[in-house]
């Protein structure tokens, strides 16, 4: 089949993703690509339910300790949260463009776009670091570790427990995403990806967009509404 593909592909096309082959249990490349993508979508479902548990906790405790949530959320820096929202949306944009340039065989452009995505992810974590260290300094900590004085409401520690857990698990996803993007970037530099084969770029992209998607809900709920 590969000989036939090379003959039909014409000049240059046989060089695209030379290491790529269709596994013998798939009838064609499309089937293999779709199967992989469906697997990633199923994984994303489990991610939605993971964060869903935390959103459920947020909903229950917001309703039970409403004054505490309103008071505590004013201690979050909405400027920093807003900057991080824009940074993450930008990274999602460059990731989507990286998939597009991989589809168009623009290998160098893909590397550049993945590097920008990586830089945005790093910037997100730097902003998060400043936010966290400010909270720790002020004693705005989860549950029993909460030491900040002059709070009128009774249970601000519960808000910060949920805040740190939700943004913490989201932050872990950003770190894992950075590792995945770096892996894709290095493979791309070896010219492994092309219009014939870009499934890993697309699938890491799907994961990265989900990380963005979770933040799209976290930002207004924690920072803006409380």
């Amino acid at each position: 089949m590969s000989a036939k593909a090379e003959a039909l592909g014409g000049a240059g096309e046989s060089k695209l993703s030379p290491q790529f082959h269709v596994a013998h249990h798939f009838d064609k490349a499309d089937t293999q690509f779709d199967a992989g993508r469906m697997g990633v979508w199923l994984f994303l479902v489990t991610e939605i339910l993971l964060f869903g548990g935390l959103f459920c906790a947020f909903a229950i405790f917001r309703s039970k300790y409403f004054p505490s949530f309103v008071e505590a959320h004013h201690h979050l820096d909405r400027v920093m949260g807003g900057i991080n929202t824009i940074v993450l949306i930008t990274s999602s944009f460059t990731m989507a463009l990286a998939v597009r340039s991989a589809q168009k065989n623009e290998t160098k452009k893909t590397t550049l776009l993945l590097a920008i995505t990586l830089a945005c992810a790093a910037m997100f974590l730097v902003v998060k670091y400043f936010e966290y260290s400010h909270k720790i300094h002020d004693g705005l900590l989860p549950g029993g570790n909460f030491t900040a004085a002059d709070f009128a409401s009774g249970h601000p520690g519960i808000f910060f427990a949920i805040y740190f857990m939700m943004t913490g698990i989201h932050g872990v996803h950003v770190v894992i995403g950075m590792g995945l993007i770096l892996w894709i970037l290095l493979r791309n530099q070896k010219s492994e990806f092309s219009s014939r084969y870009y499934a890993p770029v697309e699938n890491v992209g799907l994961y990265w967009h989900l990380v963005d998607l979770v933040w799209i809900f976290l930002f207004p709920l924690l920072y803006l509404v409380g």
């Binding site: 039909l8 592909g9 490349a29 479902v45 909405r78 589809q103 219009s195 014939r196 084969y197 709920l221």
Partner: protein
Amino acid sequence: MSTSHAEHDHEHGHGSTNGDHVPHVLPFKVYIGTFATLLFLTVVTVAASYVNIGHTGNLIVALLIATIKASVVALIFMHLKWDHKFHGIIFVSALLFLAVFIGITMSDTEFRGEAEAIEAKNPVDLKDPFKAQRTGDIAIPKEIAPAAGGSAAPAAGSAAPAAVPAKH
């Protein structure tokens, strides 16, 4: 959505001559338009949070804008609009199960102590919610229990296991 999907398949059918995957490349303006939309909606959601329409009103507006943003990301950046319908079904079913999860949980936690008049008098202890199953769920008025101890000792035999855990 179904039309786009059909077009996608159509393109595949013609583009692939040697069994290779042929990508469906979207125009650049689609991406830049999506990016601009997301930035615009971020500004809108921040601005809307300064408009005081009550806590519930602000929450609904924030969730509505977030849902629009999430839909834009899922449909365009994640290619669901052009993807197989089944991937969309997987995604939407996850959201439906999430709604069931949060909805049913909150229908419990929001209305504890309100279901029946007797429940309001004996609210469920959050740290020991299944106490009633162990104790037989018998309401024993606390002021009567010690007085009844002496005179009705033989009759209290069946109620005794319920009374002991209720004391501590």
